[in-house]
């Protein structure tokens, strides 16, 4: 329910109007006074209010109709009571009689108030009847809940592995963090290094994991790669280009998996290449790969950091997407798969 000052003033003004208009007609009654007081009148009013809200909002659900009708009926009764009090004040009538007249019996007043009530309450109760499934008007993309739901979902279908899904979360959009346009390796179009390649910007669990590995001086590249070989987060040092290395992880894991499957060995979980001057570690955890390029002389602490980074990524995924593995989430959300 909207409870702003503007709506309150609007309700007050219109309420006074629907009270004052019958007051001017009160002495005459127009010969239309109801013969008896009946709760059936209130039930009919309730149905009328429900019908009005349904007429103007065809997508509204039953719960919202009932809520709107109940609140509007309450408002109409309150109007009737105020009307009765006004009658007592102006015409020195007995309060009980005035109450019956104001709420139930005085036809021009009751009719005017009953007809006007849903239209008076339409705007203040907009949030009630518009928060129904299938309507996006209540969806605020900037809300924290919405940020959790938004992202890019992708899945890969392969003959050997079936359907593998992954969710690439959208980077949290913070106005404070607006930076100059940069490429994924943290360099802007002018080629000037930004804070990203200096390891100063930490945005999500993936960034934290890559920056944690990057704290080691020997590390030149640490990146998280999804099941399609696309970068999800990266830390780079020197002139190494993350986009060039990212597909490397996927290609070699697929190659090694297909070859190892012909032996009694299971699929690989970690591949470690040693070159003359570099060392490359590619490790997999579920649908994600973590690739690290470091100097050959890097200490064994690197492996420990890689394992710890996997833990960080895992806990971040659990925290953000729940305990379910990605492919299960995908199957639940996309029924056709």
């Amino acid at each position: 329910m909207v409870d702003s000052g503007k709506n309150s003033r609007q309700i007050l003004l219109l309420s006074l109007l629907v009270i004052v208009i019958p007051m001017t007609l009160f002495p005459a009654r127009l010969g239309l006074g109801l013969g008896k007081v009946s709760l059936l009148n209130l039930a009919l009013e309730f149905l009328f209010y429900g019908f009005v809200v349904y007429l103007f909002n065809r997508n509204v659900n039953l719960g919202a109709i009932v809520k709107f009708a109940a609140v509007t009926l309450f408002f109409r009764v309150v109007l009737g009571v105020v009307f009765a009090v006004t009658i007592v004040g102006l015409f020195e009538m007995d309060f009980q009689v005035a109450l019956k007249l104001g709420v139930f019996s005085y036809l021009p007043g009751v009719i005017i108030q009953a007809i006007a009530a849903p239209f008076i309450m339409k705007e203040p109760l907009k949030s009630v009847y518009e928060q129904t499934p299938g309507r996006l008007s209540g969806f605020d993309p900037s809300s924290q809940e919405a940020q959790k739901l938004m992202g890019t979902t992708s899945f890969v279908v392969s003959k050997s592995k079936g359907v593998e899904g992954s969710i690439i979360p959208q980077q949290p959009h913070k106005k404070k963090d607006i930076k100059p346009e940069t490429s994924l390796d943290g360099r802007n179009k002018a080629g000037i290094a930004t804070s990203q390649d200096q390891g100063n910007t930490v945005q999500n669990g993936f960034d934290k994991a890559t920056h944690y590995i990057g704290e080691l001086a020997s590390v030149e590249l640490a990146c998280v790669i999804d099941s399609e070989g696309l970068l999800m987060s990266n830390f780079t040092r020197n002139d190494i280009i993350a986009e060039d290395w990212a597909p490397f992880a996927l290609i070699h894991f697929q190659d090694s998996s297909s070859l190892l499957s012909r032996t009694s060995l299971d699929s690989p979980v970690k591949i470690d290449f040693t070159l003359d001057d570099k060392r490359v570690i590619i490790s997999r955890d579920g649908p994600l790969f973590l690739m690290v390029v470091a100097n050959r002389e890097s200490e064994d602490l690197l492996n420990i950091r890689v394992n710890q980074s996997h833990e960080m990524i895992r806990s971040y995924l659990n925290e953000r997407y729940g305990e379910l593995p990605f492919n299960k989430v995908e199957k639940e959300n996309v029924s056709s798969t």
């Binding site: 070859l259 032996t263 009694s264 591949i271």
Partner: protein
């Protein structure tokens, strides 16, 4: 050559070793009976060749060693000059010690040839 492989297999955690040519043809093998030497030889040659080709495209230095960690074992592929030295180990091994033993074996193989 078999002596070098035999010595290597005595290292704690090592389950087998073999020497395979860069074309995948087995030169000498002393592998765990669960693994077929021809298959592993072809696998080693294929994996190292694929990796080397990828690295060439990225203008990096030549490959000298590859370690693959599977769910139930580890495999080490090392350039031994005349071919690739393949060492298979259990999953939980002292990697530093294995690498040292492999380095030692590679130098012995290079001397013997």
């Amino acid at each position: 050559m078999y002596q070098v492989l035999n010595d290597l297999n005595k290292t704690s955690g090592v389950t087998g070793s073999m020497l395979v040519g860069k074309d995948g043809i087995v030169i000498a093998a002393d592998l765990d009976e669960r693994l077929e030497s021809e298959t592993v030889g072809a696998l080693a040659a294929s994996i190292t060749d694929n990796i080397q080709k990828s690295l060439d495209r990225m203008d990096t230095s030549p490959l000298s060693q590859v370690t693959i960690e599977a769910d139930n074992a580890k495999m080490f592929f090392s350039d031994a000059g005349i071919g690739i030295l393949v060492v298979t180990t259990e999953k939980q091994v002292n990697i530093g010690l294995i690498r040292l033993e492999i380095k030692n074996a590679v130098s012995k193989l290079k001397i013997s040839n």
